[in-house]
């Protein structure tokens, strides 16, 4: 599997990271190198093997579905780059 410039641009877009056009050839080269390394996995016989879900053989614990926290709006907003009137503020969302 080899990654061309278009595919590299698609992946960057999916990852929500702006990559300038002139950087794409280098990015594609690095992807191909890493994927070449990863493709060693194709040598392994995985027939009938279940993909690992959890490394410890114990189920995830459940808890009661109760509100245990809250009423801390100012603390939640305290690290926001832009917060006004009790809300996070973002640029326009509607295209």
């Amino acid at each position: 599997m080899s990654i061309d410039l278009q595919k590299a641009a698609d992946v960057a877009k999916l990852a929500r990271i702006r990559v300038e056009d002139h950087m794409l050839p280098e990015l594609a080269r690095e992807f191909n190198e890493i994927l070449g390394f990863i493709e060693q996995l194709n040598e392994v016989d995985v027939e009938g093997v279940e993909p690992m879900v959890s490394v410890t053989p114990m189920p995830l614990r459940r808890r009661a579905d109760e509100v245990t926290d809250g009423n801390m709006r100012s603390r939640i907003l305290s690290n926001a780059p832009d917060a006004r009137e009790g809300f996070f503020v973002v640029p326009k969302v509607v295209e």
């Binding site: 599997m1 990654i3 992946v11 960057a12 877009k13 999916l14 990852a15 929500r16 990271i17 702006r18 990559v19 990015l27 690095e30 992807f31 190198e33 890493i34 994927l35 390394f37 990863i38 493709e39 060693q40 996995l41 194709n42 040598e43 392994v44 995985v46 093997v49 279940e50 993909p51 690992m52 879900v53 959890s54 490394v55 410890t56 114990m58 995830l60 614990r61 808890r63 801390m72 603390r75 939640i76 305290s78 690290n79 926001a80 780059p81 832009d82 996070f88 973002v90 640029p91 326009k92 969302v93 295209e95």
Partner: protein
Amino acid sequence: MTARLTALGVADARSKLRAGEITSVELTEACLTEIDAARALNAFVHDTPEIALEQARAADARIADGNAPSMCGIPLGIKDLFCTRGVPSQAASRILEGFRPEYESTVTRNLFDAGSVMLGKLNMDEFAMGSSNESSVYGGAVSPWRRRGDTASLVPGGSSGGSAAAVAADLCIGAIGTDTGGSIRQPAAFTGITGIKPTYGRCSRWGIVAFASSLDQAGPMTKTVRDAAIMLGAMAGHDPKDSTSADLPVPDFEAALTGDVRGKKIGIPTEYRVEDMPSDIETLWTKGKEILRDAGASVVDISLPHTEYALPAYYVIAPAEASSNLARFDGVRYGRRARPGAGDGVTDMYDKTRAEGFGPEVQRRVMIGTYVLSAGFYDAYYNRARKVRALIKGDFDAAFADGIDAILTPATPSAAFALGELAEADPVRMYLNDIFTVTVNLAGLPGISVPAGLNAQGLPLGLQLIGRPWEEGDLLNHAYVLERAAGGALKPDRWW
């Protein structure tokens, strides 16, 4: 010359504090002075002297009252990956510039509840992605070690490079790190200290900036094995806020250090004998086997047949989980937001924020992770890697079922390298640093790196022991035997 106060380890400091020979305030002030004198190491990146002295005064009062826990009054360095309330917690990334958490991670909370003192935050690779500490937004941490007759700066390893440098240079009594593929054990080996990654689930991950959630574990980085045992006991424990944290009692790890390994069975995995392994490392490995054999253990060859596929499986699973975990850094709720251009919508804001905020290695891994999880490739890469991971764990399960108590391997395939030496190389060359450590994360096992000796250039090398799940006490006891026979912590000559 009298030894510096800051050269104390956890156990020795505990004795002196309890005996009233020193106070936590004195010890804390001595550490703060050393930190100030060691800026050349770039180990501490955010200092918290006011918090430290306040905690030290409280610890002294508690010690005077009697019955203070072991970690009470002990000054520690905290990896920048841990969220510490009101204190910058940046994961060494530009994207978390200015972030001051409104909450405390469970591991630091546990340590502070036990009376420990926070000296400040320690340098690391950005988001714990790296093996040299060079991907940090703060610039690389520098090892206190140098090659004999050479002044070139060496890396302290990574990702917990600041923690390793700080402990090795005696800037603090102990430090905490995290380990996703070797990030505690490799820097410990590079700097001549001890570092343990406990069993997955032993320490709560709550409040630790997530890299790869199924692999990340916190652990202590210390001057001795005993110190690691004491500190791990204070860090560990069940936490309802982390659903993967194990609801198991935390044993007294220090009490497990009997020095008796008679009748134990040590496995030597033949697959860990890699091509081009330096002869120094081969020699140390042999020395480690002899030490354990002399102590009455039996040493047998074992096979872990899927070892060579651990790194490629890791470089699917870790980036996949990272791409998901790091999706939260979007410039909305915390951290740094890119300056918007005229007419930019919210998507432009995300794209620019992440391009400016993440360094090259983090961007690379987020994009690789995005790719292996994308429609059409999920089965070929991600699911296949998870199957290989199951096989790797199966290799260990089989060895332990055969009666193996611990597995002995080198900790790293080489000694520390120079700053910049691998920076321009292919990313895969840097990844190879974790070849001996990454299997342990994939299998969720406890692993410890113990200083074992110096190479021909005078640099420290470590041996790794891998234990059965939840049996950190037994693992630490094996490490204790190695440490006593190998001579213990190695100390660099002071040049800073």
